[in-house]
């Protein structure tokens, strides 16, 4: 499968990444190389095999839906770039 320049740009957009001109070409080549190698999964004798979604037996783990309050707001907001009034500040989303 050939990876086109448009595809790389589409994928980067989905992943919320901007690519520089030199990066587009580099990642296009890298992705192509890796996919060429990864294509061997299509030769594996997997007919009739189920998919594995986790390393151990898949089972649901339930717990009671109880509210636990994390009180250390200060240490959470310590990481914020530009906090205001105990909140994270972001650009306006709705005009």
């Amino acid at each position: 499968m050939q990876v086109s320049r448009e595809e790389i740009l589409h994928i980067a957009n989905l992943a919320h990444l901007n690519l520089e001109e030199n990066e587009i070409e580099k990642y296009q080549t890298n992705l192509q190389d890796i996919l060429n190698f990864a294509n061997i999964v299509n030769n594996a004798p997997v007919e009739g095999l189920d998919i594995t979604v986790g390393a151990n037996e898949a089972k649901n783990v339930f717990r009671k839906d109880e509210i636990e309050i994390f009180e250390d707001n200060e240490s959470l907001l310590k990481n914020a770039i530009n906090p205001e009034q105990n909140m994270f500040k972001i650009p306006k989303v709705i005009n």
Partner: protein, 492 residues
């Protein structure tokens, strides 16, 4: 003998006999860090001042009887993707350069509960993506055996710090070999436990269905001691398994008579360095001498497992790393016009080259049109790999392979060729794909004096078997008595 050369169980013995104090031990490590860190660059954050004052405090509390327990006052180093409250956790990324976790990882909580002393946070490949610690945003860690070589990765800082005696032991994490391969490159012991044995709560996720935390130590006894501490169910990690606690130290009997060891011929084929192969053959002879039954088998899954690994790990990473958006606790770009631009610019400036490459690959294999051909197929291959290992463990107790196809390579040697770097994970990734335990122990050095690692793979939750097999071998060849890192090559 210098204090920092002792293993943890030796330090425990000396504390018990009052030959050493906690403050003396900590001071010795701090001195060692001050002496060697400039050459090795194993740490992202050192906590030497904090460690000294903590040691005094713990020493006093031990003397007054307020603190008991045989790990009190033992120093440790922690890989920088394990959350430590109040101390930076960077994942060696610009993205988390200033991140201070508001909580502790469960394993860190356990370390603190024992009153152990954290000497610092250890360097790694950015977000644990890499096999050389060269993708760290902060520094390239150097291999203590030869400073012009990489220490392996991604837990390269952890392995190099243990090998250079800057910490007595360390915690690492392993998604596709990230504990075992650097342990192999640095001549130390690295254990990747069975998936689900150790809680991942507070480990910054790379690929959640593959990641496990484990010990990097000077010898197998220390590995069992640290595993005893960190293993166990945790309600904060729903994938951690609820099963009775074991004492791994008790498993180290030094007797492996009748142990059935399988040698998968595909792991000794093309691409495995001759010197590595020959040293492994010597190890196999040692096992025979010790009374093990060794047989060659075919386990033709390595190539499939490697391709599957890169599809699954990158897919999970692209999803896990979606949370780094420039809003709450990550790097944020300086200028932006709207929210989307804030996301895109922050992520593009905050992530390094290798992380972006894997996000792109992961996003590609999960995207519409390619999901079935790559991701779904890889999940089926994952079943195939697991089944093949299950079949082997019906007949054998241990599978023996090299840990890495080569010894440590030169800094910069492979950093321009991502695929070549990925192919070097051929011996380790199957273990994560199948969720098995694996240990790497040194089995000798090559003609250049670089350590060679042997990997022992066990069945799920059979850590005792591989630990005892490793221990018995270690007692026989006495690697640590015969070889020591010499910091060749000097600082560049």
């Amino acid at each position: 003998m210098n204090i920092t050369e002792f293993t943890v169980h030796e330090l425990q013995e000396k504390l018990k006999n009052k030959e050493l104090t906690i403050t003396e031990i900590t001071k010795a490590y701090v001195d060692r860090i001050n002496e060697k860190e400039k050459d090795v660059q194993a740490f992202v954050t050192t906590l030497t001042d904090e460690a000294i004052s903590q040691a005094k405090d713990i020493q006093a509390k031990v003397e007054s009887g307020e603190i008991k327990g045989d790990l009190a006052g033992i120093p440790i180093g922690i890989k920088d993707n394990l959350c430590t409250k109040g101390i930076k956790t960077t994942c060696s990324s610009k993205m988390l350069e200033n991140f201070i976790s508001p909580y502790n990882a469960t394993v860190v909580e356990k370390i603190n509960d024992e009153n152990m002393i954290d000497l610092g946070k250890l360097n790694m490949d950015e977000f644990a993506m890499g096999g050389s610690t060269e993708t760290s945003y902060f520094a390239k860690t150097r291999n203590p055996w030869n400073l012009t070589k990489v220490p392996g990765g991604s837990s390269g800082g952890s392995a190099a710090a243990v090998a250079s005696n800057m910490v007595p032991w360390a915690l690492g994490s392993d998604t596709g070999g990230s504990i075992r391969q650097p342990s192999s490159f640095c001549g130390v012991v690295g254990l990747k436990p069975t998936y689900g044995l150790v809680s991942r709560y507070g480990l910054v996720a790379f690929a959640s269905s593959l990641d496990q935390i484990g010990p990097i130590t000077k010898d197998v006894t220390d590995s069992a001691i640290l595993l005893n501490l960190i293993a166990g169910h945790d309600k904060k990690d729903t994938t951690s398994v609820d099963m009775p606690k074991k004492d791994y130290l008790k498993a180290l009997t030094g007797n492996i008579k009748g142990l059935k060891i399988a040698i998968p011929k595909e792991f000794f084929g093309e691409g495995i360095n001759e010197e590595v192969k020959n040293k492994l053959y010597e190890a196999i002879e040692t096992y025979k001498k010790l009374g093990a039954q060794v047989e060659e088998i075919s386990l033709d899954v390595a190539q499939y497992a490697l391709a599957t690994y890169y599809i699954i790990a990158c897919a999970e990473a692209s999803s896990n790393l979606g949370r780094f958006d420039g809003i709450r606790y990550t790097y944020r770009t300086q200028e932006f016009k709207n929210l989307k631009e804030l996301y895109k610019k922050s992520r593009s400036e905050g992530f390094g080259d290798e992380v972006k490459r894997r996000i792109i690959l992961g996003t590609y294999v999960l995207s519409s049109g390619y999901y079935d051909a790559y991701y779904k197929k890889a999940q089926q291959v994952r079943t195939l790999v697991t089944n093949e290992f299950n079949k082997a463990f019906e007949k054998y107790d241990v599978i023996l392979t090299p840990t890495s196809p080569t010894v440590a390579f030169g800094i910069g040697e492979k950093s321009n060729n991502p695929l070549e770097m990925y192919l070097a994970d051929i011996c380790t990734v199957s273990v994560n794909i199948a969720g098995l335990p694996g240990i790497s122990i040194p089995c000798g050095v090559d003609s250049q004096g670089m350590p060679i690692g042997m990997q022992l793979i066990g069945n799920k939750f059979c850590e005792e078997t591989i630990l005892n097999a490793a221990y018995t071998f270690e007692q026989e060849i006495k690697f640590r008595e015969n070889y020591k890192p010499e910091f060749k090559g000097g600082a560049k």
